[in-house]
Amino acid sequence: MHMEKSTDLRKQARSAFIRSSAFQRLILIAVLVLLYGFFYLASPSFRKYTTLVQICSNMYYTLLMAIGVTFPLITGGNDLSMGTGLICYSLIGSYLMRIYGWPLWAAILITIGMGVAMGAVNGFGVAKLDIPPFIMTLASMMFCRGMGSILTGGFSGTWPDGAEPGAEFRNVFRLIVKTDTGRMPVPLGMIWMILLVIIMSLVLNKTRVGRYTIAIGSNKEALKLSGVNVLKWHIFAYMICGLFTGFAAVTYAATFSNITPGQGAGFELNAIGAAIIGGTAMTGGSGSVFGTFLGVLLISLLQVGLPFIGLNADWQLLITGGILLGAVTIDKMRNGK
């Protein structure tokens, strides 16, 4: 009798763990390790330190968008305007610098500010006007796509690069250290990213912003009835996404310098996919910033690693699609469907 009871308890604890999102993240970590190991064994060139640097620098702007979109996703919403928004804001930032002679710090502030403003607009449309998030952010996606081109007359923009004054802002993301054998890049940006993941994880789990975001996603009515200003916090979730899109815009400019109008549509799909792979439910109510980080790591590993074994980016899309489907299936199974 006593033995049966303790076995029951252990079974219960085990199935509770399997149903938890922590288990999903554990699977993700295992997949990451296996995949890295596979590329390591399959390609000698992959094994270099510089490949790790490349995986890092490839993921910065996607990770920032993914951290941002985790919040609207948890409220049961979405944000499709991140990709074209990123391009639009950095285009306008470069335009202000090149044509109007604005200093770098002002352009960076405006770029980020535009992201926050668009986030507020998205949030207002979804929370106050009750427009479905998919439609609202689809509309702002098209708006950003057009606006960037119109304001710059269809021309591409460049942010400071190389030896130009102001180009030092790129060192925030990557430091070049002189060693005995030459130069070694240090992915400084990764440190900032990990810090941001920790901060936003705490925001999501330990602050009012985070708890209300989760509550809006799991039971908005109950939250409203308990007297909380749901409108404010709902809009705030979208503004967080907008803020991070602004960060992503600056990061993209730091990595690629040349911004072309009309690009960007589709960037957000990697970010949204990563968040879902990382355990954020599309129906809302739960999510994890750390899980999102793992999801982006996986996508970046695929993007960088597949060319090393001779498979081009078509395969990366195929495999990422498969993993996304797998993640959603595990999520459904977890929740006892």
Partner: protein
Amino acid sequence: MKKLVALVLALVMVLGLTAAFADDYHFEIVSKGFQSTYWQAVLKGATEEVEKINAEGKDKITMNFVGPDSESDVAQQVQQFTSALNAAPAAIGFAAVDQNAFNDLLKEALEKKIPIIGFDSGVPGAPEGAVYANASTNNYVAGTVAAEGMWEKIVARIEAAPGTVRIGEVNQDATGESVTQRGLGFIDKIIELAAAKGWKVAVIGNEFYVNGVKGEKAAEADAKIIIEAKVPAQSTVELCANEASVLLNEDDLISVFGSNQVAAEGVVAADKNLFKCGTGDDTVIAVGFDSGATLKAAIREGVMYGAVTQSPVGIGKVTIDLLLASAKGEPVADTDTGCAFYTLENIDTPEIADNLYD
């Protein structure tokens, strides 16, 4: 009397109207996009020529210059070309992103007797008589010019190398005429130059380029030089950079060719983490195509050895001239707008500098 005056006035008005419409031409120009500042230079050349012709007073031209968001957006360009046809212009300038997607639309233009002037990569494989003339660089020749410019710098290293050496090529696609012709021209020329030295060349990588090469290919095991051609899934700088990284990570790589501005910028972006490219004997010799702020800076800093420039402003100008002539029913002929290899040594000379842009 009043009736007569009214009739005369009406007649004058009508005559005046027809005079106003007499020399008006509207052209639709569908380019491959605004993806690089190259296309903006083409637009600049076209705009300047339109302004110049309008200022002369004899003909009045209006132009609508459009392009898809990226050079892999075939569907979008098909839509834009359809709109251009529906606008019933005097003539259409066209640079196709895909050589095979426009046959029906081109037949329609032929039936409607709307002249088509190809520019840049033009419209190879178009139905007979649809395209009246082309204003472009001979892209195959441009690829050979890149190969010759690179060869001068690397031939001594190949001689001194104990084993095989690798030459990389990053092509943004395997569908557009300009990129494919440059890619193939480059590989064919390397094979020719190597054969003169008695060296065998193997070609590996993307199937289109491997199979399209005209020169004689050897097996990898027998070759002194291996040429590896890479093509990303979409024509963006980020994906070209990933392909370039794979090449730059190979220890036997001595040089790499980016066959258009996007691919060359991808090489530069990839090198930012790897520091392999340069102009010294132990570095990877990178050769690019076209210009733009990123490539010009890379050449000035010694990261990129050199590049081939076309004359995009010239292409824009010649396209407008050909459009006007074909709209008037005058005979038109293909015009080669030329290309040149430039390095740090000649980047500031007038012949080169006038064709470079940001």
